[in-house]
Symmetry: D2
């Protein structure tokens, strides 16, 4: 291992931006966080305390940061609406890119990032599907690859957030692409991982309700939704997404094969503690996505850095990120139109179902 | 409590018939098994050893058994195809009836049992949805009723059988009504219990595959299927049924409310034993439906008997059994036609979706 | 199977007596409860409602019940203080005996029951160590016998009661023989089962506290106690007994072998329900010994009956019951004297330890 | 937070030394690993690849490292036999010290480290009891402090290693101080944490066996041992240590109070994966102490660093480390002598027990 370190800049210093910045600053030994950008004064103020003392240069303007001397890579952790634009600019400026998911809520815009990346095959461009870096999911994947469950056939996966009583997610729904693009995108990505990136969708159908936040309907969204995806090679995936979990974050996946099943997180737990009292035996569970996947983000940062420094393949293909958005957007459309949607084997919509 | 005992006869002595007969003989103190009928010589032979020494009279012919002196009730545990006919004959002969599920795989035939029962309001006629008598489901129901989870909104339930390598279920599929009518009927009944019997279906959609038994397609059936049911009052239920579980019977239910969730059997276990060895920590799970629900059937027999003897209301309404078949049959149709099916609030099919 | 039934009488109708009586009345098909005795008017009153209508004859006097026409067996479920006397009288009257544990809190008195039984080898005399009939313990035992854990070497077991705020157990301590004889007797019996009845004790030591009920010291007892038992063949057992569990009954056992471990009930649960709410994930556990072992008592009644009717060996040896009391009494003595106690290989006390 | 970093050197580069060195190099942002020492050529060779490229200076001689320009702190991660000597030298050279447990297997030698530290009150000297930094143990401690279990009364704790078929631990036993000093020391430290550092021991007794490695007897050690510790304030702790776990590392603790119980790791799991196959449901568990406590060591390094840089109190008192060795050594003596050992309230041995 050489002592050479990858110089990276962080675009965006909101909730996820702060985390990515600190991960590259403190928990990615082979990377050096040299720059960070944000248009937001409060975020820059935070950075003056937490980043600047450690040698990080701040930029109000993303384009200016791209010109930072010696900068080799960018982590795009800004608002979803500018993910694609910033990623493309970075690629054009010959920077490696780790982009938060999704590339965009639009399939076409997502594809434009892939197109930009394809023109610079020497660059490492990755969309950060954090669960791919989680130890449990990797263990499950490896066990499946080793034949533990025979042929994977049915996948159930859910991304369920703890109810945020502030109702923040209502305003957020305007830009999130909807619950299937925002939450289930992870489950869809897992499906493409476990079933194979070449899996072809035959149909999608979805239903949803607003059990706690009727206002979501203004933004064509729901607070609970279930979606069904049928693939051409005789596989099924079904997803549940929710904004109203009482106990905390419940992200659970089951991969059912012809000879076994792998269950990831069907018994959620925050740690190894159980409290026995007169109400029974109780354990707490992670409250947020970060609580559950904190170390996956650290691994993501380290593996992205290693791929850049050692010029090795990235752990996941950028094209899968577009396919995930395509499926998420179709589910969201089905959710709102209340219609089942069919595709032919080339991925084009068809009117009638092929029986 | 009086020492008076209800005289009951058992129709059918196949796998379920034997169990019902022995339950009424040995584990239902207030009932007396006085008769049993079967056209099958092997079944009658079994009964000569296990029932006759304890005072049970055998009949080759069901109609003859109905005339047994003093007979007050019948448990119909024969092949599904004759459930309705035998139940109706028993009702007409003024016997109380406990009928194995389903009343019929046909909605119309199921309804004819209800019609017959309605003419004899003094009789107790019950369809044996065994999970309603399971301690865990009852505990969950009581907790929901006590407000533990707020308003129930989403229900996930699965009935998944261990793979039977003999492939028996292929031949059986010809008469079972399909995987949604045979397996998911329990999950549907639970839905009607937890969401309320008056819940009105807005749409159903389903997909399925044949991962292990392609021959099932001959009988318009699948070995794995997922179904989505949308209700008019803003609730969703989704079901998974499978014939290929590796570890055993996996019947799991989650009821998600606005303030909490109740999970039934998300951590299956046959007993309280865990084996630690070089492969990790392992526990076994029930192999069959009977392993899991044996005591629910005992409770069912005892509560049916008590309702008859004490002239108290039955624990579940017969009409729900028809509604369960209606939903199961619609899901099965959707599974085969690959179309989403819509209903208006009166339960009639509609062409277009109501948005 | 013949329809012949064993005629049994129940001595004592207190908490355990009622349960044994009803088990033989309602859940032991091959037995017929023909008689019951109690000197207590309230208990007899209860029996008039619950037993007499089903043909049970009541006796105020135990000796009178022994003369009941056709009586073949007695279940002794009275106060511990009269277990041995009633068991011996029954044996002398040529009745088979199922005696609640312990035979006596005194080793000598316990042995006198064995002596009486030895004179009537045709009689079935069993001490009811209920855990031997529990499905989980039997599964663990069978797995151990099948070699799953190599050579069993260390056994940890606990019998821990839910705190009874009435403090009933303080008065009870006067006659119970102390916490090791009353509670740990089950764990000791399990040790003799899993390690073998011929296991020879080398030393015992114990400590205890009164965390919630200092008054127990009046009766030379404690509310929490830990005991260590060393055997001559290089095995160890250690026990914990408590009267102050908050959540419910916690009876847990681990058998550690050279190649694996069997854990029984290290994850207690009343049923299959988990409640998810803002405090986390919660399950309830059995509140009492009966909640946990109800079906073991039913199996015990049925297997005792079958051994009598079919003249087959009993599932456990009566001598083990004496050895269990011997070990329990030594632990209790060590608890109170605060001294370690040593034995030679013939079971005699020795002053110094053999190193 | 300032960008100032604490310059630290690592003494010893064996199994634990490598881990501590890398933790300070890569996962302790506020520390700078500037030096490392080892007399072992192979260890130095490893360091040339893994440490030198990142600016770490290597020393064959510990005393030379102490003179490293600007060095502020030492992590002592060498063989136990030199812990105390190296710690004292570092203190005398005015370095802050984080010393691996135990300070020494001898109580007197351990105390000499405390004495040396007392002369330099400006220095931070800490013994690294890693479990104090584990999230689960901290959560349990905080819950206890918040009153969740009433008054803590009984503590059960075990440190059980996976069987190492190489038998390495036999040779290791010569220097380890024995199983109670090497393994149970953690459980003892937890006891002093949860019960309070001022807890006074009244008696200890222990028994042990050699189930898999009879050769351990040559070094006065055992492969399985159980110990009982009684405290003067009416509390009990009991410990189990083993070298022969089949499934992996099993470090479990229960703290039982008058109103509840906290259980830490009674359901061990390596991650969130469960595999369902024809043998049942299976999960893997951590294989080593490191697998289980990796992040506790990272937290330890970071908190030690913060205490030094910010001149804040250390999270644990050094004196507790001596008391832990004292109890561990007494248990080991009891294990070998087979005698119960008594102490008066001043900590002196007494012949007879105080009743």
């Amino acid at each position: 291992m050489s002592a050479q370190r990858m110089k990276i800049g962080c675009a965006g210093l909101g909730r996820m931006g702060k985390r990515h910045a600190l991960n590259f600053l403190e928990r990615t030994p082979r990377a050096e966080l040299v720059a960070a950008s944000s248009p937001d004064p409060a975020e820059l103020e935070w950075a003056k305390t937490h980043l600047v003392p450690f040698g990080v240069t701040l930029y109000q303007n993303y384009d200016d940061m791209l010109k930072h001397e010696g900068l080799e890579a960018i982590v795009v952790a800004s608002a979803t609406a500018v993910h694609a634009e910033q990623a493309i600019k970075a690629i054009e400026a010959d920077k490696h890119v780790l982009c938060e998911k999704p590339l965009s809520t639009s399939v076409e815009v997502s594809q434009s990032v892939v197109d930009a990346a394809n023109k610079k095959p020497n660059l490492k461009v990755m969309c950060g599907f954090s669960r791919r870096f989680d130890k449990s999911y990797r263990d499950a994947y490896n066990k499946m690859q080793a034949g533990s469950i025979g042929a994977p056939s049915v996948l159930r996966s859910q991304t369920c957030d703890k109810l945020d009583p502030s109702g923040f997610f209502v305003a957020y729904a305007q830009f999130s692409g909807g619950i299937f693009v925002d939450c289930s995108i992870h489950d869809i990505d897992l499906t493409l991982w476990f079933f194979g990136a070449a899996s072809k969708v035959k149909s999608v159908s979805a239903v949803g309700i607003t059990a706690v936040e009727p206002d979501l309907r203004k933004h064509n969204d729901r607070d609970n939704a279930v979606g069904l995806v049928e693939f051409y090679d005789g596989k099924i995936a079904y997803f549940y997404a929710s904004r109203m979990m009482a106990a905390g974050q419940e992200d659970t996946t089951e991969i059912i094969g012809t000879k076994g099943k792998l269950a990831v997180n069907t018994q959620p737990a925050m740690n190894h503690v159980n409290l026995y009292d007169e109400t029974g035996i109780r354990r707490e569970i992670p409250q947020t996505y970060w609580d559950r996947f904190e170390y996956a983000f650290v691994t993501e940062a380290n593996e992205f850095t290693a791929a850049v420094l050692d010029n090795k393949p990235l752990p996941l293909e950028l094209t899968a990120a577009v396919q995930a958005v395509r499926i998420g957007a179709a589910l969201q459309e089905s959710l709102i139109s209340n219609q089942k949607i069919f595709f032919d084997e080339q991925g084009n919509r068809t009117e009638a179902s092929r029986l």
